[in-house]
C-alpha cells in the first residue's frame, strides 16, 4: 500500500505541502472570503430588519390614522345627533307654545260666545215677559174683563218661573 511506505520522502513532503496549502486556505477563508460572506448576510439581515421596521411603522401610522378617522366620525355623529335633538326640542317647544296660544284664544272666544249667548237669552227672556204680559192683557181685555195689572204681572212671573223650573 503506497500510503504506508513511510520511508518514501514524498509522504513527508506531502505533509509539509498539506500544512502550507491548508494554512493558505485557512488564511484566505478567515481573512478575506468568510468576512465577505458574513457582510453580505449581515447586510441582508439588517435590510430585512429595516424593512420590517418600516412596515411596522407604516402599519402603526395607518392604525393611528384609522383611529383618528373613527374618532372624528364618532364625534361628527354625536354632534349631528345633538343638533337633531336640539332642533327637535325647539320645534316641539314652538309647537306646544303655538298650541297653547291657540287653546287660549279658542277658550276666550268660547267664553265670549257663551257670554253673548247668555246675554241674548236674558234679553230674550226679558222680551218674553213683556210679550207674555201684553198678550195676557190683550186676552183678558178681549175676554171682557178689566185686568188688574199687578195680578197679571204676578201670574206671568209665576208661569215663567214654572217653565224655567220645568
Amino acid at each position: 500500500m503506497p500510503q504506508l511506505e513511510f520511508g518514501n520522502p514524498l509522504l513527508i513532503a506531502q505533509i509539509v505541502w498539506l500544512l502550507i496549502i491548508f494554512g493558505l486556505l485557512y488564511y484566505v477563508m478567515a481573512n478575506y472570503a468568510l468576512p465577505r460572506v458574513e457582510r453580505v448576510l449581515e447586510d441582508r439581515r439588517a435590510r430585512i430588519a429595516a424593512d420590517l421596521h418600516a412596515a411596522q411603522q407604516a402599519k402603526a401610522e395607518a392604525d393611528a390614522a384609522m383611529a383618528a378617522h373613527r374618532e372624528s366620525t364618532a364625534k361628527a355623529r354625536a354632534e349631528a345627533q345633538a343638533a337633531i335633538a336640539a332642533a327637535m326640542q325647539q320645534a316641539q317647544a314652538e309647537a306646544s307654545a303655538r298650541a297653547e296660544e291657540l287653546n287660549a284664544r279658542l277658550a276666550r272666544q268660547i267664553d265670549e260666545a257663551e257670554k253673548r249667548i247668555g246675554a241674548a237669552r236674558d234679553a230674550a227672556m226679558g222680551a218674553l215677559r213683556q210679550v207674555s204680559l201684553s198678550t195676557a192683557e190683550t186676552l183678558v181685555g178681549k175676554v171682557g174683563g178689566r185686568a188688574d195689572r199687578g195680578a197679571l204681572e204676578a201670574a206671568v212671573d209665576r208661569a215663567l218661573a214654572a217653565r224655567a223650573a220645568g
Partner: protein, 262 residues
C-alpha cells in the same frame, strides 16, 4: 505506475492484465525538476486545486453581493450557514472563533473527496498521512484551546467529578486513551472510507476492461461491473459528503469539550 484515476487503462497495459487497485495511490512528482526538488506531487497539486476551487466558489459566489442571491451565491451562503449552524450548534456562541477553521476543514476534505472521484484525478484524502495531519491539527487545536481556557483544570477532564476515588486508576487511563485515540479514529475513518471506495471502483473498472476483451460475449457481461461502478460512483459521492461532515462535526464536538470541559 502512473497514479491516474481509477479508470486509467494504461495501468492495465503496464501491469499486463492483472488487477492493480493500489497503483492509484502512488505519489508522483509533477512540474518537472522543480516539483521533483521540492517534493511537489500530484497530491499537493490536487490540494492546491481544491483550495483554488473553494476560494473561487466563496469569493466569486459572493462577489455580486446581491440582496436576493443567485444560484452560485446561494450555494456559497448555504455552505456558510450550514457550517456555521453546525459549529454554533455544537460549541455554542463561543464557537464563532473556530468557524473559519471548521469551514476550511470541511470544504478542504469535501473538495478533496469529490475531486478524487473525477477520472484521472488523485484523492489526497486517501492518504493516511494527510488525514492524520488534519486530525493532528484538530487535536493540537483542541488541546491548546482547552489549556488556554482552563489551565490546570483541563486535567480534571480525565477524571469526571463525582466518580469514586478508588476508580481513578481505571478511569484516568481509559479517559487518556480515549482522548489520545481521537486523532487516530478521526484520520483512519476518512482514510479507510476513501481507500475502500477507490479500491472498489478500480477493481470493478478493471473487471469491465478485462471482461470486455473476452471474445464476443465479453462486452455484454462487462455491462454488469459497469452497472456496479455507476452505483458505486453515486455511493462515493454520498460518502464524500458524509465523511467531510463527520470530520467537521467531530471536530466541533471536540471543540465543545475543549471549551466547556464536558
Amino acid at each position: 505506475m502512473p497514479a491516474q484515476g481509477w479508470a486509467g487503462e494504461r495501468d492495465l497495459a503496464a501491469e499486463g492484465k492483472t488487477i492493480d487497485a493500489l497503483g492509484q495511490f502512488e505519489l508522483k512528482t509533477v512540474l518537472g525538476p522543480i516539483g521533483h526538488s521540492v517534493g511537489f506531487t500530484q497530491s499537493s497539486a490536487h490540494m492546491l486545486l481544491a483550495v483554488g476551487l473553494i476560494t473561487l466558489l466563496v469569493m466569486y459566489g459572493i462577489s455580486r453581493q446581491a440582496v436576493v442571491p443567485g444560484r452560485l451565491q446561494s450555494l456559497t451562503e448555504s455552505a456558510y450557514e450550514f457550517i456555521q449552524g453546525l459549529v454554533i450548534g455544537q460549541v455554542g456562541p463561543e464557537g464563532k472563533r473556530f468557524f473559519p477553521f471548521v469551514f476550511s476543514l470541511f470544504m478542504f476534505i469535501l473538495f478533496g473527496n469529490l475531486l478524487g472521484l473525477l477520472p484521472f484525478a488523485f484523492t489526497f484524502t486517501s492518504h493516511i498521512v494527510v488525514t492524520f495531519a488534519l486530525a493532528a491539527i484538530v487535536f493540537v487545536l483542541i488541546t491548546v484551546v482547552a489549556l488556554m481556557l482552563h489551565g490546570k483544570k483541563f486535567f480534571g477532564y480525565f477524571f469526571p467529578e463525582g466518580a469514586p476515588i478508588w476508580l481513578a486508576p481505571i478511569i484516568i487511563p481509559v479517559e487518556i486513551v480515549s482522548y489520545l485515540s481521537r486523532p487516530i479514529s478521526l484520520s483512519i475513518r476518512l482514510f479507510a472510507n476513501m481507500v475502500a471506495g477507490h479500491v472498489m471502483l478500480k477493481v470493478f473498472a478493471t473487471f469491465i476492461v478485462l471482461l470486455g476483451g473476452l471474445g464476443v460475449a465479453g462486452p455484454f457481461i462487462a455491462v454488469l461491473p459497469l452497472t456496479v461502478n455507476v452505483a458505486l460512483v453515486g455511493f462515493e459521492i454520498l460518502v464524500a459528503f458524509l465523511q467531510a461532515y463527520v470530520f467537521a462535526i467531530l471536530t466541533s464536538i471536540y471543540l465543545h469539550d475543549a471549551v466547556h470541559l464536558h
